[in-house]
């Protein structure tokens, strides 16, 4: 197991270096310079600034410098945000995004899995149709529509939760729900499909033939065998949500990472683009590793080589 994780970590580092290189060159192909949106500068001033930031060097030289820096953990300074360090920028912004993401994933998947189970064991009844309807609505209506509806009805009309901004836990409730709708829909659909399949398997009949109650059959024998595909999709989904979602952050005025990432792209803020991309990638690869380890925890057949046999 330790050997396996070590091996995976080595691959992670290689993957990250490849992503960094690819992003670097792609970014250089993008039109414009970091200065194109700035106040009018004379050609001379521009030249000085470009020189100062090393942007006049040939691209391969810039590349080698940059890669050298990230290997020492230095992601550089932002061009736009008062020259602050990219690392601090990300760390400042990740908090709200991650909190929203984690809350949405937990709330969404618990509710979604329950909904999926209900529709699987009450297959082709009004319960099933109801749950499927919720899932279809959740999946087909975009989250910003829900966000707006929540803001208007729950925030403005009922005044249960604040409409926007980020000043305490209650401010996270509406954006969490808006994000969770999609998670509910996806996990309900997957759980339903998987549970329907699992509940028709022979070992479920064996369990029932042992005299196990219907509830225990579902929760002890069913769910665990239905979880694998669910975890496969939930991992990357979790990364997407935790690293910030532009639309929801914008609507609820949450100072998160997603909003900032988009701004850095439109302003050619190279170090921030690179830093955030690397951060996203790192997170995604990490989650994939965790998901792979979870597979083994859930299903002993996938338990990794080197474990105790």
């Amino acid at each position: 197991m330790k050997g396996y994780i070590f091996q995976r970590v080595v691959y992670m580092v290689i993957t990250l270096l490849l992503i960094a290189s690819a992003t670097f060159f792609l970014m250089k192909i993008m039109p414009g310079t970091p200065l194109s949106n700035a106040e009018k500068l004379s050609a001379e001033q521009e030249a000085i600034i470009l020189e100062k930031y090393g942007l006049n060097d040939p691209v391969p030289v810039q590349y080698i410098k940059y890669m050298g820096n990230i290997l020492t953990g230095d992601l550089g300074n932002s061009f736009q945000f008062d020259g602050r360090e990219v690392t601090t920028l990300i760390l400042d912004r990740i908090g709200p995004s991650a909190q929203l993401g984690i809350q949405a994933i937990i709330f969404g998947s618990v509710l979604g899995i329950l909904l999926g189970i209900v529709s699987a064991i009450r297959y082709n009844t009004i319960w099933d149709y109801g749950a499927t309807l919720i899932a279809v609505i959740g999946k087909s209506i975009p989250s910003f529509v829900f966000a707006a509806l929540l803001q208007y009805y729950v925030g403005v009309k009922l005044q249960w939760f604040p409409v926007a901004f980020w000043e305490g836990w209650e401010y996270s409730v509406l954006p969490t729900i808006a994000l969770a709708v999609f998670v509910i829909a996806i996990s309900a659909r997957f759980t339903r499909t998987e549970m329907l399949e699992v509940m028709n398997q022979d070992f479920i009949t064996t369990a029932r033939a042992k005299g196990v109650s219907g509830f225990a059959v579902v929760f002890k024998h069913g769910i665990r065998n239905a979880l694998i595909p669910l975890i496969t999709i939930m991992g990357p989904l979790a990364v997407g949500l935790m690293t910030g979602t532009l639309v929801i952050e914008k609507i609820f005025a949450v100072p998160g990472l997603g909003e900032q990432f988009v701004r850095s792209i439109t302003t050619n803020d190279y170090p921030v683009i690179m830093g955030t991309t690397l951060f996203f990638s790192f997170f995604l690869i990490l989650i994939i590793l965790i998901v792979d380890i979870l597979y083994g925890v859930i299903d002993p057949r996938i338990r990794l080589a080197g474990g105790k046999e």
């Binding site: 033939a209 042992k210 005299g211 219907g214 299903d299």
Partner: protein, 339 residues
């Protein structure tokens, strides 16, 4: 002889989009303490549905027991609630299934799967249940029981898994064990081992066994009595000797004739021509009439009553009527080779 199970006039139907499929149409079975009854028949004859109905494991919907009684020690299981049935399943009546590769939960240790029933029915503590599970694994012939207990099904071979399935079924000393094609998915050497094991365990525990199979070889080895099913009905019942040596029903003749014979490697296998009746629109007469070489008009029009051949032997066939022409069992319908 004390009857432990009496199934009377059992009708089981499945409601499908194409209409009602009458999978079991008036089956009578009785089972005496400690005996082995084999139910034989081809795929779709209703043997599995009958056995699952006894356990009330037919998924409802679409399946339902339309009519009939399932008397277990005099109590009608057909009228039991799901909760009452849960107390019977696994403790009074157990079941083992065809495919040991799929009938064990892949994410649960063997030990936990054996102990589950013990903890539910006998309210055993964890350590008591562990001790009993080890004892059971030894009983079904699995070496290193203590360490095997912590393993998962994928670490067992097919034959070993079937032993585990048997251990699970026998955990609470059930009075009836229903074995639904327990050896079909195993290779031949393992089949013999599993059948020996079942017979051995029956001697030790006195459990009555209902053995569902389509393999007459298995029947000869393991059962005392046989019920031949066709088209959702039992067409002939009798002792193993009666069915093998003095069969009366043309379908049983066909079954026996289609068995490969030892030392007869040159000849072709004999098949019964035609296919089983469509049970969503069952024939009003004998279900076998369409394939029967001796069918008469009456066979198509009226279902024959079960006729007593001897005290233990019954067959439902118009040929046994005194007005019917005399038809002798064809020469191929014999038990092949050494028995």
């Amino acid at each position: 002889m004390e009857k432990i199970l009496e199934v009377k006039n059992l009708h089981v139907s499945f409601d499908t989009f194409a209409g009602e499929v009458q999978a079991v149409r008036g089956v009578d079975i009785d089972l005496t303490k400690g005996e082995t009854l084999a139910i034989v028949g081809e795929s779709g004859s209703g043997k599995s549905v009958t056995s699952k109905s006894i356990m009330r494991l037919i998924p409802n919907p679409p399946g339902r027991i339309k009519e009939g009684e399932i008397l277990f020690e005099g109590k009608d299981l057909a009228k039991y609630s799901e909760r009452q049935m849960q107390k019977v399943r696994g403790s009074e009546i157990s079941m083992i299934f065809q495919d040991p590769m799929t009938s064990l939960n892949p994410t649960m240790t063997i030990g936990n799967q054996i102990m589950e029933g013990l903890r539910i029915h006998q309210k055993m503590s964890k350590s008591q249940a562990t001790a009993r599970a080890i004892e059971l694994l030894k009983l079904v012939g699995i070496p290193n029981a203590e360490s095997r207990l912590k393993q998962y099904p994928h670490q067992f071979s097919g034959g070993m898994r079937q032993r585990v399935v048997i251990a699970i079924a026998l955990a609470c000393n059930p009075k009836i064990l229903i074995a639904d094609e327990p050896t079909t998915a195993l290779d031949v050497t393992i089949q013999a081992q599993i059948l020996d094991l079942m017979r051995d365990l029956q001697d030790k525990t006195g459990t009555a066994i209902i053995l569902i199979t389509h393999d007459l070889g298995v029947v000869a080895n393991a059962a005392q009595r046989v019920a031949v099913m066709y088209g959702g009905q039992i067409v002939e019942t009798g002792t193993v000797d009666e069915i093998f040596y003095k069969p009366k029903h043309p379908y049983t003749w066909g079954l026996l004739a289609s068995m490969p014979k030892v030392g007869d490697s040159g000849s072709e296998l004999i098949a019964i021509p035609g296919s089983p009746p469509d049970l969503s629109d069952p024939p009003k007469g004998c279900p076998f009439a369409a394939r029967c070489p001796h069918a008469m008009q009456v066979c198509v029009d009226h279902m024959p009553e079960a006729t007593e051949v001897s005290g233990t032997h019954q067959a439902a066939c118009w040929l046994l009527d005194e007005r019917a022409p005399k038809v002798e069992k064809p020469a191929e319908a014999t038990v092949g080779g050494a028995r």
